[in-house]
Symmetry: C2
Amino acid sequence: MSVDFFARHEAVLTQAVSAAATRGYWSPFTEMPSPRVYGETANDQAKAAFVAQRNSPFVLDADSQAGTYAGAEVSPFDGPLGMTYPRLSVDALIESSKQAWQAWRRAGPKVWVGVSLEILHRLNRASFEIAYAVQHTTGQGFMMAFQAGGPHAQDRGVEAVTYAWQEMSRIPGQAQWIKPQGKNEPITMHKHFSIVPRGIALVIGCSTFPTWNGYPGMFASLATGNTVIVKPHPGAILPLAITVRIAREVLREAGFDPDVVMLAVHESGENTAQELALRPEVKIIDFTGSSANGNWLESHARQAQVYTEKAGVNQIIIDSADDLKSVARNIAFSLALYSGQMCTAPQNIYVPRNGIQTSAGHVSFEEVAAAIASSVQKLTSDPAKAVEVTGAIQNAVTEARIAEARGLGLPILADSVLLSHPEFPLARVRTPLVLQATPDHPAIRREWFGPIAFIVATESTDQSIALATGLVQEQGALTLAGYSTSDTVRAAMQEAAELAGVSLSLNLTGAVFVNQTAAFSDFHGTGANPAANAALSDSAFVANRFRVVQTRWHA
Amino acid sequence: MSVDFFARHEAVLTQAVSAAATRGYWSPFTEMPSPRVYGETANDQAKAAFVAQRNSPFVLDADSQAGTYAGAEVSPFDGPLGMTYPRLSVDALIESSKQAWQAWRRAGPKVWVGVSLEILHRLNRASFEIAYAVQHTTGQGFMMAFQAGGPHAQDRGVEAVTYAWQEMSRIPGQAQWIKPQGKNEPITMHKHFSIVPRGIALVIGCSTFPTWNGYPGMFASLATGNTVIVKPHPGAILPLAITVRIAREVLREAGFDPDVVMLAVHESGENTAQELALRPEVKIIDFTGSSANGNWLESHARQAQVYTEKAGVNQIIIDSADDLKSVARNIAFSLALYSGQMCTAPQNIYVPRNGIQTSAGHVSFEEVAAAIASSVQKLTSDPAKAVEVTGAIQNAVTEARIAEARGLGLPILADSVLLSHPEFPLARVRTPLVLQATPDHPAIRREWFGPIAFIVATESTDQSIALATGLVQEQGALTLAGYSTSDTVRAAMQEAAELAGVSLSLNLTGAVFVNQTAAFSDFHGTGANPAANAALSDSAFVANRFRVVQTRWHA
């Protein structure tokens, strides 16, 4: 290739390898939308470009303008985006991807990794553009759209490339095998080991975190020499369309067929994902979405390695606390953040019905519940600030779910109220609904995606732990949080979390929230409960995306 | 634990890690049955013990003598072994394994790896005992039974432990995450990362290489903290029973419940494997056997990580050669070795119908075919020597298959003849059957397990390559061999082998045979074609046998 992208990014890769090993804080990108870092005019340009893009066809690149167009995204803030995207048939996607693979598969690990890191670098430069795209498809507040959709998603992309590089690096290109034969000449064999990518990888995007959840699989597959077909959720195409556009630019510059990365756009209701997923040429699938669809892929796309992140019930166990207020504040923020539309957002909060110990003495169940409810209401008392935290509701189904939860007849601790967005009067903005429930109520045994939480009065912390971890194994979970001032109880929570296979956050009262994970330090998901069959990112996430084929001969 | 087995084997582990990275020749064990290494009386003692064991119950250990017994193995050399083994119900196996897991899972990587390496070390000391057990269940000649059943199997076990150790070592136990906050205090989190084994692992053994094919999965699972239920093939129980007995001795010495490793014996025809495989507690399955059973496990045991090695059609492509005689000799040995009952044994041999170029000039198809056939016949002209190579036929079904192949009506190039074994008059010993076939004959498109080979007259080497690699993708294969004096043709073979996902041996004419792979250097299987969904051993083979669960809290 004309530019040595590997050399350009090798220093960052070395740091990334070290960060993944020590798991301290590290990122190659700046998470603040700083004009100094991203350019003084970056925000204004991106905003203007977004406005200009609305109601017109999205230009992926010159080669992709033929054919039909599709797209009917609706901004949760201000209505239809009006964008359309070039659209290809499943046959055409597979055929072009196969073609592009022929040269790509031969390029080898350094080129795959170099190109991947260059794409991520350019995605970072486009963080403002991506932020507007993420905001107006997912409903995230701008700051979250920038951070989670931009640098944090890019971090997860770099992380996947890093693990891919490590695994590929462990295969020597050549070896000499010299076996002693006593007094006779040794037997000598030359051996050549080739990294052989599996073929076409399919990435099935979600509507809430299209880039954050899409990049790990996309870059794990690309960096191991596979071609990638990116199929966005019909409700959140733009962020991945920009991603694919940038990937194709870099691929073309590197001398490859840009069809190494393709965009598969379809109308809502069409089964393009299933059609692609069952094609024999598709060897890897990364999916984020519903349990029904994820389980279907795992059962039916048997020709592929399938990595899924599905639904779950995230939970908080409150046993005791130093300062109840800071506990309540932290939990309330977790519930409100992007209106519970994060796959890591807590839903069930267990509190012993006889209350808890705090440094200010004994506090009754009702007082704990009231503290959380009041923190939720306080958080949202200033709508202008609140809407930046809650964002907007991505999908009308989620709004309907709030009504369904209200209809359960459970005591309402904090009601969900409509907030008026100062900038976007059409935005669907709601505060979290907090209900009280008993441990045996069936409602707490399923996911209520959105700003819906249950405070559950349990017999004891032991029951809370048993309930929570049982539900992790039954329904899946990405997060579990615990609050306790007792070493013994915290150890019991950790033991139970490890057995149930869910990561645990203890006594979060400050600026870290259970919803958040940091690339290179926190694993996202464990692959040990029904919420996800893989973790972002570890060796298992990358090691089966390529195979090694050896050739040997006598020296 | 009382003895630090990790410390005892750490130096070997360090060498093993380095060997797996460079993939040169390395083994911690001696492959020759040398009295100097294994003890002057080792052979005599093992032979006497084997004779004494016949027709009596096998004592696994004092705790395992209750209950019923099962076992009806038949030596391919001299009839029924008469041994019976303690037998437990599926429920009892699962319950005991679960119990034993509680302390084992907490012990951590160093203990798991230390205990695993100590077991392998003691298995090595028992190589003669295992050799007689392997010989009289599989029908292998004694030397192969010793080497493949003993040190080579143990090598593969150490290799699996080595990869497991590497993957677990990459997870730091603790981390400090310190995120700068501009002029404010940084946010500091402590993080703890636990290696959490999946639970119960099931190893389903085969009748031909019970230890060689059983140890990788068994030790990959054990070294990552899982408990293991070893279910031998009803025709080859003894080698794995000895293995389990030794594993339990070491576990007991290390202070663990010996039920960390259990033996599941059943009568032929009972579906114990399926029953165990579908139990929700079984999280990992390693299987070697038929494609039907392997595919069934992959489709049905969805709660488990399933690693399978199944049937395939191994092939040889002859394009040209320096010295046809040495080619023919090497191929003939590969066909005769353990009577084609190796999963790596070649079956289809493609030769252009217009003949090939050699250093002695052009040689016709008929001459190439005759050279191979005559080498096969020569190899077996001295029955006393031949039987050591061919061993005996393990299963009457294999013998029947030879008759079935003869019945195809294809031209017979070398007929299969009965050989008389000088030591074991009852032994089923047969020379390979070599038939001639056309490329379109359906017989060459399936596996004929046993001493059955087809020499196929093709249009050209191009057609040979296309046929061979097409069949790899369709039916699976563990090995492919090629002979050519042309760089261009060899490169084409390599390219085709990489695309088809099968390892390639080129121009083998000496003391290395396509059937053989060496641990730490050759990957066995690629996981890229239907013959196996995993390779022995690589990161992907071990990395998903455990998960990482993290706990984090504010500093």
